[in-house]
Structures are given as structure tokens and as C-alpha cells.
């Protein structure tokens, strides 16, 4: 067990890779009553095509990772949620584009729920009937998100940007893909993605890490797993052009919403990716927030209200920046975004603004260490990305004006896609 201390952020964690390949990360948070443990596989909604070490390819319908997440909550002898509740713990799970995570929190003893977490994630017990029954629940869930205008706007933006990439689907897939998922597909997907050597277990609690590690080692040494050929997500080839340059849809909302997104190349190297993402974020904050003097004018001119923002997201095989707003002046908003992008492309940044933003992000990073959720999920993602938890902040510290100039070049290649949500009033 390796102890890793970070003096600057005053945090300590312990790491170990077990014999079966399961990697364990334990954060020690003294004084806390609560504990949180999360078991994560890098199987996400993006994994529609995978390949193993022997070159064998696997293809799955959209939404399979999320479907599997739902079905994991059944065990041979009863329901997982009930079992955790009986132990005084809360269990839950989520699926993102890049991972599926199962976690529990408790303010009581850790040992029993921790073993249960390992046990239920490491066993799949489903049959035809239970798979069919789940489809109704999942489709209700998809419909719920579809009726939320914000998440729908984001979904349509992704669908506009990508022709092939699985980002064009909702994480849960769609009605048809969910209906098409079979028991065999779920079992195969489980078999190749839930092997301990693929997964990471992250815990945050006040207890002695040595004791916890012992519980985990004992639980794992009692189980046998077949040898696994390593599995990898297949990347998708995307053309530079978006799938749809413009797209308009309507919902029962009061004001129109617009998103303007630019499709960028992905970045293979993780450090480079984090650096470019920071640089673009700095530019966005400098040119499209209250730090930019015209921002107030845009509000005063009612180009948009407080529902306005921007995002940057870079992955291995995809990238995008997105501006969105609730607006009655859509043409004017488009102009402003185009002008903003031009300014950002110059890569000019005031030294003082750069320092100011670094201060802000440092404060935010410190505060995020209060959040067990942030800690566990970031730990898992960093592990899958083979990077250290705090390296993102080190990268930020080192960023200078030249880095920002370089990253700004990337923006010049961006192809634009505009999605408009128009009100469709009730009769």
C-alpha cells in the first residue's frame, strides 16, 4: 500500500493494485462521520464498439452501459437496495459517456456495505423476464430527460455535432436501442468490462486505511475470475464538418434557447488535453463572462438573461466548445458569439486577468476537496487516464501567455453548429 501525501492541499491517500488487478484508492478524511465508496468501470455510453487484445471486436446498441447499470441492482438472493438499506447505507449508481459507477454512502460501519458493493458489482444475475421488465423503467427515464429543456438542448447539440461518434446518442440510448437490447448482449458486455483488472475502487472515510485494505484483499482473494483479454474502446472517425449545421426543434417553453457549438479535434495525450482545456477555459472566462466589459452591455441590451454560459470539453477522439443562452435576439446572439470566438482566436490575454483566474481556480480546487463525490469520481477518472489527481492543478500553475496563444490556434479549425429551441405554446 503506497501512501501519497499532498502538502499543498493537505490531503493523504493510499493506493494499491490487488493480485486480481483491481486498483484501490483510499482517501483518509479525519473527523468525518460519513464514508463513501465507489466501484467504477471505464465502460460508458461511448463504448458502442470495443476491441480486445486479440483483435476481436464487440458491437453494442446505444445505451447498453446504462441498461447494465440498472440490471446490476438485482442479485440472486434479493434486491441490492434493500440489502444496503438494512445495513444503514445508501446505494446508487450512474452512467456517463466514459464510465459506470456504483457507490454507497454511510454514517455507520463500513465493512458489510463495502463487501456488498464488491459482491454485487462482481456478479450479474439476470434473466429474460427481468430484462424485459426493465425496458419500461428505462424508457420512462429517457422520456423524463427529454422533457427537460436544458438536457434536451445539450442532447440535440451533440446530435448536431457528431455523425458517427456515440456522443450523438443520449447516455441511455433511445427507445428503439433500449428495446433491442438482449440478455446475451448484456451478459457479454458485462463479462468483458467488469473484470477487476479493468476497474477501480475508491473510498473516502475517516477509518484506518490498513484495516479497510485488509477487508478488500480478503474479499477479493476469495473469488475467482477467468483470465481476461484487455478491452479497449474503439475510437470513432469523425469528419471535420458537423452532422447538422443548423437544427430547430420546439418544446413547451416560454423563451427560445440557442446553443452554438464548435466541433474541435480530440487530443490524444492526457496532459496536453488538460492544458488545452484550461487554456480555452481561461479564454472563455476572459471573453465571455462578467470579466469582459461588454458582457454588461449585452445584458442591458437584453441579448440574453442570466441563462447564459459556455463549456469546453475535449476528449481523445472528440472536442467541442459551446455557447448557449435563453434569448429573444437570436441573430444578435450569434453575432456576439462569432465576435467572441474571433477575440479568443487571437489568444491575447491580459497578464492580470490570467493571474486573477488562476487565483479563482485555485480557490475552487481547494473547495472541491470538501466534496466526497468530486474526490471519488475525479480519482477514478485520473486513474483511467493514468494521471495524478493533482496534476491538473500543476498544469494550470504552469500555464503562461504563450500556452494560451498556442491553444487558441485550435479554435480556428472549429466548424459551427447551431441548435435552436423555440417555444411551442399550449393551445
Amino acid at each position: 500500500m503506497k501512501k501519497i501525501v499532498n502538502e499543498r492541499y493537505q490531503e493523504t491517500r493510499f493506493e494499491e493494485t490487488l493480485e486480481n488487478g483491481l486498483h484501490v484508492i483510499l482517501w483518509q478524511k479525519k473527523d468525518y462521520v460519513k464514508s463513501m465508496f465507489m466501484m467504477v468501470t471505464p465502460l460508458g455510453a461511448m463504448d458502442m464498439k470495443q476491441v480486445d487484445e486479440n483483435g476481436k471486436e464487440y458491437h453494442f446498441p446505444a445505451g447498453i452501459a446504462h441498461f447494465l447499470e440498472h440490471k446490476m441492482f438485482e442479485m440472486k438472493d434479493g434486491d441490492v437496495m434493500d440489502a444496503f438499506s438494512t445495513m444503514g447505507a445508501n446505494v446508487n449508481a450512474f452512467t456517463s459517456y466514459t464510465e459506470t459507477a456504483y457507490y454507497f454512502t454511510t454514517s455507520n460501519a463500513i465493512e458489510e456495505p463495502l463487501k456488498l458493493l464488491l459482491d454485487f458489482v462482481q456478479e450479474l444475475a439476470i434473466d429474460e423476464e427481468s430484462v424485459e421488465k426493465e425496458k419500461g423503467i428505462i424508457i420512462q427515464e429517457l422520456h423524463m430527460y427529454k422533457q427537460m429543456s436544458d438536457s434536451r438542448l445539450l442532447m440535440e447539440t451533440y446530435a448536431s455535432l457528431y455523425k458517427n461518434h456515440p456522443l450523438r446518442y443520449d447516455i441511455g440510448g433511445d427507445d428503439d436501442s433500449v428495446q433491442s437490447i438482449t440478455l446475451e448482449q448484456l451478459e457479454e458486455c458485462y463479462r468483458i468490462n467488469y473484470h477487476p483488472s479493468n476497474m477501480v475502487l475508491v473510498g473516502v472515510c475517516s477509518e484506518d486505511p490498513e484495516n479497510i485494505m485488509k477487508i478488500i484483499r480478503e474479499n477479493q482473494s476469495g473469488k475467482k475470475f477467468p483470465k481476461m483479454a484487455g478491452i479497449k474502446r474503439l475510437e470513432f472517425d469523425e469528419s471535420e464538418k458537423p452532422a447538422r449545421e443548423t437544427y430547430t426543434f420546439s418544446m413547451d417553453v416560454t423563451l427560445p434557447k440557442v446553443s452554438i457549438a464548435y466541433k474541435l479535434d480530440g487530443v490524444e495525450d492526457v496532459s496536453q488535453r488538460m492544458k488545452e482545456e484550461w487554456c480555452i477555459r481561461i479564454l472563455l472566462d476572459a471573453y465571455f463572462s462578467s470579466l469582459y466589459p461588454d458582457f454588461q452591455t449585452w445584458l442591458d441590451d437584453k441579448i440574453f438573461n442570466d441563462y447564459v454560459g459556455c463549456e469546453v470539453d475535449l476528449g481523445k477522439d472528440y472536442g467541442m466548445i459551446m455557447f448557449y443562452a435563453e434569448t429573444l435576439k437570436q441573430e444578435k446572439f450569434k453575432e456576439i458569439v462569432q465576435d467572441t470566438l474571433k477575440r479568443m482566436e487571437s489568444g491575447d490575454i491580459d497578464k492580470k486577468v490570467l493571474q486573477q483566474l488562476k487565483r479563482r481556480y485555485f480557490g475552487q480546487a481547494i473547495r472541491s476537496l470538501n466534496s466526497f463525490d468530486d474526490i471519488v469520481i475525479t480519482s477514478a477518472r485520473c486513474y483511467f487516464d493514468k494521471t495524478d489527481f493533482f496534476s491538473s492543478m500543476d498544469i494550470l500553475d504552469a500555464i503562461d501567455e504563450k500556452d494560451i496563444k498556442d491553444a487558441a490556434n485550435k479554435l480556428k479549425q472549429g466548424h459551427c453548429s447551431i441548435v435552436t429551441l423555440l417555444p411551442e405554446k399550449s393551445k
Binding site: R8, Y9, Q10, K30, D31, Y32, V33, K34, D79, M81, D82, S85, T86, G88, A89, N90, T105, S107, N108, K133, E134, I137, Q140, E141, H143, M144, K146, Q147, M148, S149, M251, D252, V253, T254, L255, S289, S290, L291, P293, F295, Q296, D300, N305, D306, Y307, E326, Q356, L357, R359, R360, F362, G363, I366, R367, L369, N370, E424, K425, S426, K427
Partner: protein, 418 residues
């Protein structure tokens, strides 16, 4: 601790957080019309102030304080409305050099509270923002169902009043309304200042006294009450152009938050619908796949309980019946000993876990102030522990079903109540 009449300060010292939180809570009566003014005032207060009279200057100041946050919330607490201004800064010990982070933050709060910029341009901008917020809440069908459900069930009582204000009320506001309500707030409101984190109480008290010098006041106010009105129970149907339908059902509990049986009601709510172990989730979702989520909630300061879920239109009647059936099962004691024990444990766990969240610690301290008592978390856990099956049945039987609101897609034969 009272620093002057009507002004209290509470410290919650702990080293477990990386930051220090300061919450200033202004309390006045929740009144139709007044609530809209106060919710707009709250937005204006954190937008700009006289000294930092642009958003740019506000951001620069907050970044100077290492990304200090400054937010405003308005909320109803039974018969009163709270405006909360909250700021969080990192623990100054993370900075290498000597610093005046705490002093600067209190000085900043002083400017925000005592020298607001109540001017036309700030007024207009924030009025637009508040109107848009209200519209967005109406756009979200589940939120819309909840708002309508409470408004309908609580007609003529504080429960029926929106702490945010209604669209029509906000639309009619003028700058002088806001200036007048600000003066009233500074003169009349009961004020609680809560500071949580790695703090040294004496020096913070000194800072509070120096920078937040509120005048004494003699306001008397009781926040909690038990909602009652003459309305007959009924189901209202509202329409929206949506595919899924939403239900909000409301009961009046007749058990105020100060009642000795209140914690039995907390357990009853947990058996009924608060958690995924509860009857509602198990029967409606797990057994029949009718919905994705279904939960019940207590609106404790008003003495009300609500159930919300989203379903397909053809299942509305069946689901509402099923919800009633589960309610009656709790009344009749038709639930297992396991479920009772699990429910108690869940409530106890959430109480325990509240000690790990700054927000919950502040909420807990504030609750003690509102109810003028000094319970500890473990006192409450004891009360939950002692709850019996008979008490759960008793408090649930006291509940009176008041209103069902259904938001669904329009049919020609349905009235549009928007």
C-alpha cells in the same frame, strides 16, 4: 448568541472543511406581494453594490478573495420568508503568506449589505432575470406541478404563497418598491449570522460586530404553523404540451414541527415515500414499472406532505389510486417490521450525515434558532429511535388529503388552467 435585539450570531467551529462559510439570514413574514419584492431585492444585493458598481468589479473583488462565492437565496420557512446571503472562502491557512482574507471578506459583505446599488439599471436587469427564472420553473413540468400543487392546496395560507413571487407580481414592481422593502428589511427583519469552519470565535465575533452593525429591532415572529383551510379535496388537471404526465398530491399533516410526534411523522414519511426502500418506490416503480422516480416530502414548517412522480398519461388514475393505497397501508400499519426499522435507520443516517455538510450544519443551527430550542443531532436521533409502529400509524391517520394536481398533455375536452 444575541448581539443586539433581533440580531443573533452562531458559530459552528470545525476543522473538517477546507473553507469558511458565512451566512446572513434576514427573516420577515411571508406575504403575497411582499415576497416578490424581497426575492428581487435578494438578486440585486449580490449583483453589484455602490463600491463595486459593475459586475466586473464584483468579480475582481471575489477573485481577489480566491474565488469567494457570494449567492442569494429566498425561501419560505412556514409563515416567514428568508433572504439568505451566503459567502464561502477558502481557509486562509492554505495561503502561504500572512493574509487578511477573513477581514477582507467581512468588509466586502459590509459593502454588499449596507451600501447596495438600488438603481434603475440594476433593477431592470434583475427584474428580467427573475421573470425568466419564474418562467423557466413553469417550463419544467415537474416543478410546475409542485408549484401549482402547493398554490392550490394552500390557498389562503402561507403554503400557497410563492417565496419567489409570481410572474404578475414581479412584472408590476418598481424601483421604489425595492428601495422601500430594503429599508424595511434593514429595520425590521430578524437577522441570524452563521459562521462555520476553522474559526477563532472571539476574532470572528469582533469582525461581525465591527462590520455588520445592524440596529436593534423588536420584531416578533413565529415561522412554523400548521396549515389548514376550508378547501374540499379534489383533483385539478392542468395542461402543457408534454409527453409525460406529472402528479403532485398534497396532504395536510396536522402535526407541527414542534409536536412531540413530529419525529414519528418523519419516520412515517420514510416508510411511505422518502426513500427507494419506501412503499411508493417499491410498489409503483419496482413492482409495476409505472415511473422512474416517485418520492414523498415533508414541508415541515407548514405541516404539509407532498408526493410527486412522472408517468404516462394513461396511468394517471391507476397511479393516484395506488399512491392512496400506500398511504392507507401506513395508516393501518400494513408494513413490515423490517421496513419500519430500515426507515428509522435511514432518517438517523441522514441526521448523522448532516454533521459532514456545512450547509446542513448551518441549517440545523438555524432550525434551533427558529424553534427557540437547543437540540443536538443526537437528541433528534434518540427521538427517531424511540418512534413506534403505533405512533407512525397515529400521525399518518392525522393527515388529511387535500389536493391532487395533474399536469398532462392537452386533450380537447380538458380545461387549460394556466
Amino acid at each position: 448568541m444575541q448581539i443586539t435585539n433581533g440580531i443573533q450570531v452562531q458559530f459552528i467551529p470545525t476543522t473538517k472543511f477546507k473553507d469558511i462559510g458565512i451566512s446572513v439570514r434576514f427573516r420577515n413574514t411571508l406575504q403575497d406581494g411582499k415576497s416578490a419584492k424581497r426575492s428581487l431585492l435578494a438578486l440585486m444585493l449580490v449583483d453589484r453594490c455602490q463600491k463595486y458598481d459593475t459586475k466586473l468589479k464584483m468579480s475582481e473583488m471575489q477573485d481577489e478573495l480566491y474565488g469567494a462565492t457570494l449567492t442569494a437565496q429566498t425561501a419560505g420557512f412556514g409563515a416567514s420568508q428568508i433572504i439568505e446571503l451566503r459567502s464561502k472562502i477558502i481557509n486562509p491557512s492554505f495561503l502561504n503568506e500572512e493574509n487578511t482574507l477573513l477581514e477582507d471578506t467581512f468588509a466586502f459583505l459590509h459593502e454588499v449589505i449596507f451600501s447596495p446599488l438600488l438603481k434603475e439599471e440594476v433593477f431592470h436587469e434583475n427584474k428580467e432575470i427573475l421573470l425568466a427564472k419564474i418562467k423557466r420553473m413553469q417550463d419544467d413540468p415537474s416543478q410546475y406541478a409542485i408549484t401549482c400543487g402547493l398554490r392550490e392546496a394552500g390557498k389562503g395560507t402561507p403554503l400557497g404563497i410563492s417565496a419567489l413571487g409570481t410572474y404578475e407580481q414581479v412584472e408590476q414592481l418598481t424601483l421604489s418598491d425595492i428601495q422601500q422593502i430594503y429599508q424595511e428589511m434593514m429595520k425590521e427583519d430578524l437577522i441570524d449570522i452563521l459562521v462555520c469552519g476553522d474559526i477563532e470565535e472571539d476574532s470572528i465575533l469582533k469582525l461581525v460586530k465591527e462590520t455588520l452593525r445592524f440596529t436593534p429591532r423588536n420584531t416578533q415572529m413565529q415561522s412554523w404553523y400548521c396549515v389548514e383551510n376550508e378547501r374540499k379535496s379534489e383533483t385539478k388537471r392542468l395542461t402543457k404540451h408534454i409527453s409525460q404526465s406529472y402528479i403532485m398530491m398534497t396532504w395536510f399533516t396536522h402535526t407541527p414541527i414542534t409536536d412531540e410526534k413530529y419525529y414519528a411523522l418523519r419516520v412515517a414519511n420514510a416508510v411511505f415515500g422518502q426513500y427507494s426502500t419506501s412503499l411508493l418506490f417499491q410498489e409503483v416503480r419496482e413492482k409495476r414499472s409505472l415511473c422512474y422516480s416517485i418520492f414523498s416530502n415533508l414541508i415541515s414548517y407548514d405541516g404539509a406532505m407532498g408526493v410527486t412522480t412522472g408517468i404516462e398519461k394513461e396511468h394517471i388514475d391507476k397511479t393516484m389510486e395506488l399512491i392512496q393505497t400506500q398511504f392507507h397501508r401506513v395508516c393501518e400499519g400494513d408494513f413490515s417490521e423490517d421496513l419500519l426499522n430500515t426507515s428509522k435507520r435511514m432518517v438517523i443516517n441522514s441526521l448523522k450525515a448532516s454533521e459532514d455538510s456545512m450547509y446542513s450544519l448551518m441549517a440545523f443551527a438555524y432550525q434551533n434558532a427558529l424553534l427557540q430550542r437547543d437540540y443536538s443531532v443526537s437528541d433528534l436521533m434518540d427521538m427517531v429511535e424511540k418512534v413506534t409502529r403505533e405512533e407512525v400509524m397515529e400521525v399518518m391517520k392525522r393527515c388529511e388529503y387535500k389536493m391532487g394536481v395533474v399536469v398532462t398533455k392537452e386533450d380537447d375536452d380538458e380545461e387549460n388552467c394556466e
